[in-house]
Assembly symmetry: C3
Homo-oligomer: 158 residues x 3
């Protein structure tokens, strides 16, 4: 039976999203079953900047949506961000090493059939609509995440 990897991506940092997606891609290539549960700030990477809508949102939800990162390119670094300079350096160094970008890795997990789950409570609180997020995302509850994680060989909170 295949080994199984369960990731909970809570962080909205560029580098933490990167490591989560690198692990997910690598595990899927090694024939592991992989699922990622996106919660809280982890949902920002799944926002499609072209589909953001303010319909049916409270004023607070609109403000929050405007102040927070819209999609993978707007995420900051967890360390050494220096108002974006550290991130530009990291991106340049990744490019020098011909490493794929965060978006490449996100496309990779979609193509490889990694299961992508979004946390219902987080989506409700932040006021995100399903149409604003990656279409492959399935919204589930925390108890469903726990069930999936308990049957996995590796669980990481990122």
């Amino acid at each position: 039976m295949n080994k199984k990897l369960s990731l909970l991506l809570f962080s909205g940092d560029y580098d933490k999203a990167l490591v989560a997606l690198i692990l997910a891609n690598t595990a899927a290539e090694a024939d592991m079953d992989v699922s990622i549960f996106f919660a809280f700030w982890g949902l920002f990477i799944l926002r499609d900047p072209d589909k953001i809508s303010n319909d049916d949102k409270t004023t607070m939800e609109k403000m929050f949506g405007a102040m927070t990162p819209k999609g993978p390119e707007e995420l900051p670094l967890s360390h050494m961000n220096f108002s974006g300079l550290g991130k530009k350096m990291l991106e340049a160094m990744m490019s020098d090493n011909e490493a794929p970008t965060l978006e490449n890795f996100l496309n990779g997990v979609v193509k490889k059939g990694v299961k992508l789950y979004g946390c219902k409570l987080s989506v409700d609180i932040m006021g995100f609509k399903k149409e604003e997020l990656l279409p492959q995302l399935e919204i589930i509850e925390a108890k469903d995440y726990l069930k999936d994680a308990a049957s996995s060989d590796i669980q990481l909170f990122i």
Copy 2:
């Protein structure tokens, strides 16, 4: 046999404490055995603001105790804190969605019998006295945490 969840709460951030307590409550409701090991900054959420005492503390411990969050309400956000504005927005959005507060979730784990462990080394270094912390907390060593975690189906470091 019941599945078992082991959380190590290291962070002193409001949102990370929230996700730890939501997972713990959800798991306990699903009849999982749950334990939380509070270490370092994770202990701040367990401080009772009405029971803080400076007896038998070094000057450094007093200063450290005064500069750090006293109980669940004073914890900052890990992202987008904006000197507290981001946190107020998040709390308002949680309230709009009738989500319980951090304190509700903390009361929930106590009522549901989640095992609450505090890291002895952290308590000693930070100079916290047992009477200043949540009464249900049991102080244990890192080796006891590892034994408990090794027998769990899910382990997360938050």
Copy 3:
């Protein structure tokens, strides 16, 4: 058979490195098999400040190397760093309690035979040379980490 602990140290924070090394030392003392996979910022703790070299590095790699922490003593705190003041307080409080330093704990894992792995992709992107890092470090790929983690009883992402 011995229980097995697998840590992924991603963070470059002093306190998170400290908790990772405390857990690793404690587990090794309790006869667990222990491995640590150092990725991204987690590699900074393994830099030897006396062996930093700029040979064969791009301008970007030199700048990045100069701007980032060089060895265990230069890591900041994840919370309450206050430009280094919070860290000095924590170090003083650890010393008051006769707790070992971060360097002591690093020496401890080396002596106890904890397996120390470095992430190849991170080393390549950051432009670190093997000679600049702790000699006991073995450079491996993410898929090797996943294999090791999947056979462990506890996996934590720190």
